[in-house]
């Protein structure tokens, strides 16, 4: 059984070499090494929390973030660096934590929203979508993200937070890289469509 720090927010007790990579930390964490576990969660808590907070209320987001790391420490022995980065692995766990907390009626609503959103017939190409997204200010982007379905929002935030490759995103979502790429493009197109319906909000 893993053992974690029992005091709150302790500073690391060992000095780590700068070249300790995440995969090595995971191996140590799997063996119950407390400093490694702490280093791991400190390195990735912001990214994981960003994904959880984009989908859940504050309390649930903190819960989901904590459960992500607890689940990660429990299953660290099965992490395979050949299948993707540690960050992608953690985000995969986080995505599952988020999904478990979605309520049934919200899921149905999200899927129905997706049907109707797609029915509006976006004709935005992915190059145009990327350009629109990268030019708006953060405030408009946050508002636009809230207008997307939960599923689209989770996808976009997860990919962006982890800067995931299509292969990594596919692993997080449980699908192929090609499909992950398609879903990402479509979600960005829908985000761009929402942004283009706003009055102009661009960064310079």
């Amino acid at each position: 059984m893993t053992h974690l720090m029992t005091t709150r927010f302790d500073p690391p007790v060992l000095q780590w070499r700068d070249d300790h990579d995440d995969a090595a930390l995971v191996r140590l964490a799997a063996a119950g090494d407390v400093p490694a576990q702490e280093r791991l969660w400190r390195s990735h808590v912001a990214t994981v929390h960003r994904v959880c907070a984009s989908q859940l209320g504050a309390h649930d987001a903190e819960d989901a973030t904590a459960e992500t790391f607890l689940a990660a420490f429990r299953t660290a022995g099965s992490f395979d660096p050949g299948r993707g980065s540690v960050q992608a692995w953690l985000l995969g766990i986080a995505v599952n934590q988020v999904r478990r907390r979605w309520r049934a009626d919200r899921r149905v609503a999200a899927i129905l929203d997706r049907v109707h959103t797609r029915g509006r017939g976006s004709s935005v190409t992915h190059d145009h979508a990327d350009a629109v997204i990268s030019r708006v200010d953060s405030g408009a982007l946050r508002v636009a993200l809230e207008q997307l379905t939960e599923r689209d929002r989770l996808l976009l935030v997860t990919q962006a937070s982890g800067d995931l490759t299509p292969e990594e995103l596919g692993r997080v979502l449980g699908t192929s890289a090609g499909t992950a790429k398609v879903r990402l493009h479509r979600a960005r197109a829908r985000l761009a469509t929402v942004l283009e319906s706003f009055p102009a909000h661009t960064n310079g």
Binding site: D22, R50, A66, L141, Q159
Partner: protein, 519 residues
């Protein structure tokens, strides 16, 4: 900032913008998360005990996701609650408006048993015929399972798919792909499946699996051979799939049935691009003029009759093609042996009524409710224990969370598929009534099936192990005909869109495996 993440070589300004728009947790939030992690570790250390194995919720007799195309739609409401628009149905069972589930089942048992005129035990030379249709999770295409079972438990199983779009006799080209299979997985794991089917080389042999209802070529019989490209102007159909697997949604392409010209498919879509346009799909398919841009809309249909819309597939120009001729149904037949579960059930599940009670013994089932209840409970517990052992060994299994739930499932299997006597049937309803009272089952009145049939719906709660509890209510719903009390259908409601609905027509007797009650 994550120091250990290796930046990717290609810039992604959109991702950068999204990431920058979202705040990092502040110090107070991070402290609270740290405290939760510490608390969680202590909780885990207290709960964990040597040898304890969490029961795996593999899927409680849900229809399996099967090889090949399972046409799927999202948000399909196959059961629509609503009042009888014509007012009170005078033929309904005599039930009060606030009837309890236990009482409703007692009344239903009396009603259905009284309708058993002319029943006799299954005789040599007769087959017990059952027919069920299963609407898969997100299913829009029904799969029909028919069984002919004789006294030895042998006979025939036939599985058919019914088309929703294409008229029989239409010829068109589809991508020539290998068959795929789906494996059940443990909750939280990534399913072991390759969502990208392999394209078969031009000139290669037609796979035998294409003749099954689960072939990737959809509702079509192959005509001719696998070729590099269809003739210019030929109608082309491209399929994509959307699969829900437990509470994990896997999408590889969207849901589409779209007919376009092959020239358009080949020439206007660059490799790796998202298609940019589509036309509404009519009952016989619609071909698009070459060069006309497509729009990103989604094709799906639901039982409410909404206009289908098209969602394009990420198109691979390396695809080879085969011409197919659509058929009204595609069927597969297997010789049945005792204990076979229909192919629509969870592969590897041994939880089936005729493993518990050989068909020849069904006629001798106890007619006393207490005695029958004891027998079914014992059988259900034994079968469930065997499934648990399989699940622990990492094999596919259908594990019930409690022996009570397993007993309900076994009772339902008998009611829908076994040639029970009217007295045994009444006793089974009494057993279900007792189980309803013990489990806190509830009644939904005025629930209609998609075809408008009014039903009495009894909802048994499905308990969830703590580690799988997602806060939603899970239920096993039984839909009884309000007049005859026949069990028309069941539904596993997991509080998500991941639901499955099975419907039965009343069993019948025939004298050969080539015969159906409609003949």
């Amino acid at each position: 900032m994550n120091q250990s993440h290796t930046p990717h070589s290609s810039p992604d300004p959109a991702a950068d913008a999204i990431r920058a728009a979202l705040p990092d947790p502040d110090v107070a939030t991070t402290e609270r998360i740290a405290a939760r992690i510490a608390d969680g570790a202590i909780r885990d250390a207290r709960v964990s005990a040597p040898g304890r194995t969490a029961r795996r919720r593999v899927g409680i007799l849900r229809p399996a996701l099967i090889a090949g195309v399972a046409a799927l739609a999202t948000g399909v409401a196959l059961l629509a609650p609503g009042a009888d628009p014509s007012g009170t149905n005078p033929n309904r069972m005599a039930l009060g408006p606030d009837v309890a589930a236990a009482e409703a089942l007692q009344v239903a048992g009396t009603t259905v048993a009284d309708g058993g005129d002319g029943w006799h035990p299954l005789r040599a030379g007769e087959f017990h015929y059952t027919r069920s249709s299963d609407e898969l999770v997100f299913g829009r295409q029904r799969v029909i399972t028919e069984q002919w079972i004789d006294l030895d438990g042998t006979g025939r199983t036939r599985i058919s798919r019914e088309p929703l779009f294409r008229a029989a006799g239409t010829r068109y080209f589809v991508p020539a792909q290998t068959c795929q299979s789906f494996e059940r997985v443990k909750p939280g794991a990534v399913p072991d499946m390759d969502p990208t089917p392999t394209t078969l080389p031009a000139g290669s042999a037609i796979p035998a699996c294409w003749s099954s209802p689960y072939a990737p070529i959809g509702l079509g019989h192959p005509v001719g051979s696998i070729i590099e490209a269809p003739p210019a102007g030929a109608p082309v159909e491209v399929d994509a799939l959307f699969v829900a697997f437990g509470d994990t949604e896997l999408e590889y392409g969207g849901l589409v049935r779209e007919a376009r010209t092959a020239a358009e498919a080949r020439s206007t879509i660059p490799p790796g691009a998202t298609l940019a346009g589509a036309a509404p799909l009519g009952p016989a398919g619609v071909t698009k003029p070459a060069g006309e841009p497509l729009t990103d809309e989604q094709v799906e249909t639901d039982e409410r009759g909404e206009t289908p819309k098209v969602q394009p597939l990420l198109f691979d120009p390396a695809t080879t093609w085969i011409e197919v001729e659509s058929a009204p149904t595609i069927s597969a037949d297997v010789a049945r042996k005792p204990g076979d579960t229909p192919a629509m059930m969870l592969p590897g599940s041994d939880f089936h009524w005729d493993r518990a009670i050989p068909l020849a013994d069904v006629a001798n089932l106890p007619e006393d409710a207490k005695e029958l209840g004891a027998l079914l409970r014992r059988q259900a517990m034994d079968m469930n224990a065997a499934e648990v052992a399989k699940a622990k060994a990492g094999k596919a299994a259908a594990v019930f969370n409690s022996d009570r739930e397993a007993t309900v499932a076994l009772a339902v299997q008998l009611l829908t598929e076994a040639p029970m006597s009217p007295a045994a049937r009444r006793a089974t309803f009494t057993l279900l009534s007792d189980l309803a009272e013990a489990s806190g089952a509830t009644v939904d009145r005025d629930v209609r099936l998609a075809d408008g049939t009014p039903t009495l719906a009894i909802a048994f709660p499905i308990a969830q192990p703590a580690q799988y509890d997602d806060g939603t209510d899970h239920r096993y719903l039984l839909y009884f005909d309000e007049r005859t009390a026949n069990l028309l259908g069941t539904r596993f409601d997991y509080g998500t869109t991941d639901t499955s609905i099975s419907r039965w027509t009343p069993p019948a007797r025939v004298t050969s495996t080539e015969q159906t009650p409609r003949d």
